[in-house]
Symmetry: C2
């Protein structure tokens, strides 16, 4: 049984999304307890993770230090978070496995995800990132070619492309390490976005990739039996926030697409998770599960969360 586990932001930040080094470290230590349990149970695990709050912090540093050191582009920020989060996961998972008497090596890979230079996101960016700024400060960054939008009372916010992930370029390395017995961390933050130029050259681009959509792609590329999207709720909920609210158990991809088309899932949160879960199954995967971090063990063994599968 091979499982691709996609860890959401809550697995890597403290309460209220705190991304202090200490809170990140503690959250990851907690998360790795659950992952180690899976491994101890004989599941072959490939891990991926989000990086939203971490990239947000890096962007602020870029801005505030711009007059002294050159800011780095967004793809570099993604690469930076693969380093730090990968490192924290390695230490925490090594430890969580050792305390369970499990001897399995762990590895974290710098991972690139190919996107299309013609993706509509690059001409009409939609994904908000980083902090809100007053208009005057946003204006300076607008003049540097960034896209910022007026969000009313909160201020202005940067929007960037969130292109479709087309290929996890470093999936072969993830597979090779898996075959050698490693638990692998890869495609962190959806992978570092790169485009292939007409001459074949790869080039990093300023964008963020949805980590759940990248996870669905990676799950196929590593031939995972199950894709588990770990978040902060046990299930996707129908009619959320109404008296009719009810958790979704087992659904087919067609049912799930119908619910999504009916506007059941928020575009910024549950929407991409549902889309990723459906895609994996539509494109040949056996089963996707959306559930909480605490339930990933049950999810893999087949009885927790919202499961998308063919009947």
């Amino acid at each position: 049984m091979r499982a691709l586990i996609a860890l959401g932001g809550n697995a890597m930040t403290g309460r209220g999304g705190s991304a202090t080094p200490r809170d990140q470290g503690r959250a990851i230590e907690q998360a790795m307890q659950h992952v180690a349990e899976l491994v101890a149970g004989g599941v072959e695990v490939v891990l991926t993770h989000g990086n939203g709050p971490q990239v947000g912090n890096l962007l602020v540093k870029n801005e505030l230090a711009a007059s002294v050191v050159p800011p780095v582009p967004l793809d570099w920020c993604g690469a930076q978070t693969q380093g730090t989060i990968g490192f924290l996961i390695l230490d925490a998972l090594d430890r969580a496995l050792a305390t369970r008497g499990v001897e399995r090596p762990v590895a974290a890979l710098v991972t690139r995800t190919r996107v299309d230079a013609a993706d509509p996101g690059f001409t009409a960016p939609t994904k908000p990132i980083g902090r809100y700024l007053p208009r005057t400060e946003a204006q300076v960054l607008l003049e540097h070619g960034q896209t910022w939008e007026d969000r009313g009372a909160k201020g202005w916010r940067r929007v960037v492309a969130s292109p479709e992930p087309l290929e996890i370029l470093d999936a072969p390395a993830i597979r090779a390490l898996g075959e050698a017995g490693f638990i692998v961390v890869g495609a962190g933050g959806g992978g570092i976005p790169v485009v292939r130029e007409p001459d074949g050259r790869l080039r990093g681009v300023e964008a963020v990739i949805d980590k759940d959509l990248a996870a669905a792609l990676l799950a196929r590329q590593v031939a995972a039996d199950v894709l588990v999207i770990a978040t902060d709720v046990d299930h996707a909920i129908l009619d959320y926030g109404t008296p009719d609210a009810r958790p979704l158990g087992h659904v087919t991809p067609e049912q799930m697409r119908a619910y999504a088309a009916a506007g059941q899932f928020a575009s910024g949160s549950m929407g991409p998770k549902v889309e990723a879960a459906v895609r994996f199954v539509e494109q040949g995967g056996r089963r996707s599960v959306i559930t909480s971090l605490q339930r990933i063990g049950e999810a893999v063994s087949g009885d927790a969360g919202t499961t998308v599968a063919r009947p």
Copy 2:
């Protein structure tokens, strides 16, 4: 023939050490031409690299943004540079190989290096990092537990531990990928320094590891035939800066230690390279070469630079 190539700062920064994203990218593209030539010639390559200017930039960002986002510790900065430099190397080397018609996959690993918590560097730090600051600003950081030293007219500078690398913890993953046919980038910046606590837990520590000493260790751990330390000069020079200055060709480890003991090599630059070259051979390696990036091909084939080997 397996070669461990350690790339110095000049392989990753522009003129005068410029570490703008564009200059870093261009320098790495140039460096990868030389590496790709080696690979095209049938050499099995493992790459490692320095990260001094890049960490310097990250420290400045930490300082300048500290009132808005939490600064991250030095081990995290190292991890961040493994992400960005690894990413740039992946793209550039992929391309340099493709233009030579060589189909070899490339991978970059987040890599930790174990050091001793009792290393003397932690009680008496000696390695200067980052920028000079006026006394008043350094004072604030001193009060936060950092060590800063008065460097006279230039200002104050932070000094940190540069502990001995004891084990490249992620060398098994580097080996596994090498065996699967990958050219692997690992132990960037000497590796992320971690200590093993008495209870077995691994913990990142605020330190920097000399990348050449880490390279010598990694070269043994991956059973390299030759360690090549690529820098900006073709040879180590005896009586440097005097009328008797002469390049060193082939030397034994014993001769090299004698030269080093006689103060022939500057402690901050050639000294650690010489120490690394000697160690690799003393500890069972066949041959170490110190030479310029442009000559790494000849160095591996056996006829360039300063070569340390048994007679």
